[in-house]
Amino acid sequence: MTRSPLVLLGRIWLALILVFLYAPILVMAAMSFNASPFYQLPFEFSTTWYAKMAGNQQIITAAIRSVLIACATTVVATVLGTAASVALFRYDFPGKRILQVLLFPPIAIPWLITGTAMLVFFFAVGIGRGTPAVLIGHVALALPYVIVTVSARLSSFDVTLEEAARSMGADAWTVLRRVTLPWIAPGVVAGALFAFAVSFDQFVVSYFLSEPGDSTLPVLIYTAIRKGFTPEINAISTIIVTVSMAVMFLATRYSKFGGSR
């Protein structure tokens, strides 16, 4: 097959975009292994910053808090989201369309608005700032992603399978447990991974809802950057990017979102 100049140009364009997307991340990762604290070149390999990071109690505490909040968000959002998806799929009722449309505000409204609104409301009702507030916010942001992902999987579900199970005497809960849930399992796993990523990467909402000194990792990083950054931040940032890319890589393998068709 001969390749026209246009095709070649297209390949080059794509390659340039990949460089643009990955170069800064790779530079950051490389600098986290550079001995100089001021990002000076020439490059000199060192793991000092990772050792310093591991000894920084603030970073470790924030990292543990971030992971715990992300895990809790994943469990709650996946359970509630899957239940809602099954209900939206199985039943026809007045107002269903409205409920589906209501999933979009949490995704479409800038997080700055959602986050500040949560702050104002949580103060007014006495929840205030802190980890519970952050958790409530994260679950709300993750729920629409779970519902959309699980619903997408459900849309290919053959309802006659349920009818067949029922005709052979299975009750509703048995049908759900033995027929429906196994079918939607890949969608649920993908939804759970999305929920984890939404929470683990969340900065804006956490920023407004966390108590000073009681912050998640992204909030800690933001505060540190504004004070003038150190390669310790590079080290932890490199770890974060690696973790979230790995999670998303798994998620895309489980769902069709953005993957093969």
Binding site: P24, L41, P110, R226
Partner: protein, 287 residues
């Protein structure tokens, strides 16, 4: 589709559905309503017992030209970033959807959208390292070129635009790619067999048919960029005052929450207007 004749079925529907929506109500819809209410107050009730109702916060937006200027600045930023995302991202989606085939297409597509799921704050921070004076980019350019250049990109509007394009580019590529992939290849072959040039095919077939996807991507870029505050703060330095950073200040530095709530609501109104303007084309995308 199960029917809702029996009370048991209705109870099951309620049990499955209500926890998720109750959560969304408490965490999103009530807060948004509360914020609308607070934007009309003189003081936060928990701070001042003698709070009252006022239109003053909205009047402040109208009388103090700073806010309108900053909102315009944020809108200009959003248009610029969206424009660049379209110019860079649409050709990329075109190449992925129509020029590359098979397994390498999937792999490349995954590579393009993967960074988008990693932490946006960390990616902005990585640009701060690349763009800083005497940083990696400046050294690379100086190494390539025979003469000395000083880019001084850090703490400029350009740095903010670069960081934001990097953050949101995958949105445009994702939505355009999905729309372009849905275009039937037979249609293109038919046009080609009748003598249409590549440009004609793009202008008369691919662009019109993928427009809803492209526009969806544009909206997904535009809306968060209007409300961005972290990116201008880190990459913009003193140039980085935008509408979003002013809202942030009201909540974390100045503690004028009612004014912050009013400014947020004005932003929300702008966002809703943009979504409404785009919705006729976006609706076509779903059908």
């Amino acid at each position: 589709m199960a029917d809702l004749e029996t009370p048991a079925e209705r109870r099951r529907l309620f049990t499955l559905l209500s926890p998720a929506y109750l959560w969304l109500t408490v965490a999103v819809f009530l807060p948004l309503s509360a914020m609308l209410f607070f934007s009309f107050l003189t003081d936060m009730p928990q701070d001042a017992p003698d709070w009252g109702v006022t239109l003053g916060n909205y009047a402040e937006f109208l009388t103090n030209p700073t806010y309108a200027t900053l909102l315009r600045k944020s809108l200009t930023l959003a248009f610029t970033v969206t424009g660049f995302c379209i110019l860079i991202g649409y050709p990329c989606a075109l190449v992925l959807a129509k020029s590359i085939k098979g397994r390498s297409r999937e792999a490349l597509f995954l590579m393009v959208i993967l960074p988008f799921w990693s932490n946006s704050l960390v990616r902005i921070f990585s640009w701060a390292i690349v763009l800083r004076g005497n940083g990696v980019l400046e050294r690379a350019v100086n190494w390539l070129l025979p003469f000395d250049v000083r880019l001084n990109l850090m703490f400029t509007t350009d740095a903010v635009v670069i960081g934001l394009v990097h953050s949101y580019l995958p949105y445009v590529i994702l939505t355009s790619y999905l729309a372009l992939q849905a275009v039937d290849d037979d249609l293109i072959d038919a046009a080609r067999s009748m003598g249409a040039s590549k440009l004609t095919i793009l202008r008369r077939i691919l662009l019109p048919l993928s427009l809803p996807g492209l526009l969806a991507g544009a909206v997904l870029v535009f809306v968060p960029v209007v409300g961005s505050f972290m990116e201008p703060r880190i990459l913009g330095g003193r140039m980085g005052t935008y509408y979003g950073t002013v809202i942030e200040d009201q909540f974390v530095a100045v503690y004028n929450w009612p004014l912050g709530a009013a400014l947020s609501f004005i932003l929300l109104a702008v966002v809703i207007a943009i979504l409404a303007a785009a919705s006729p084309v976006l609706k076509r995308a779903q059908t």
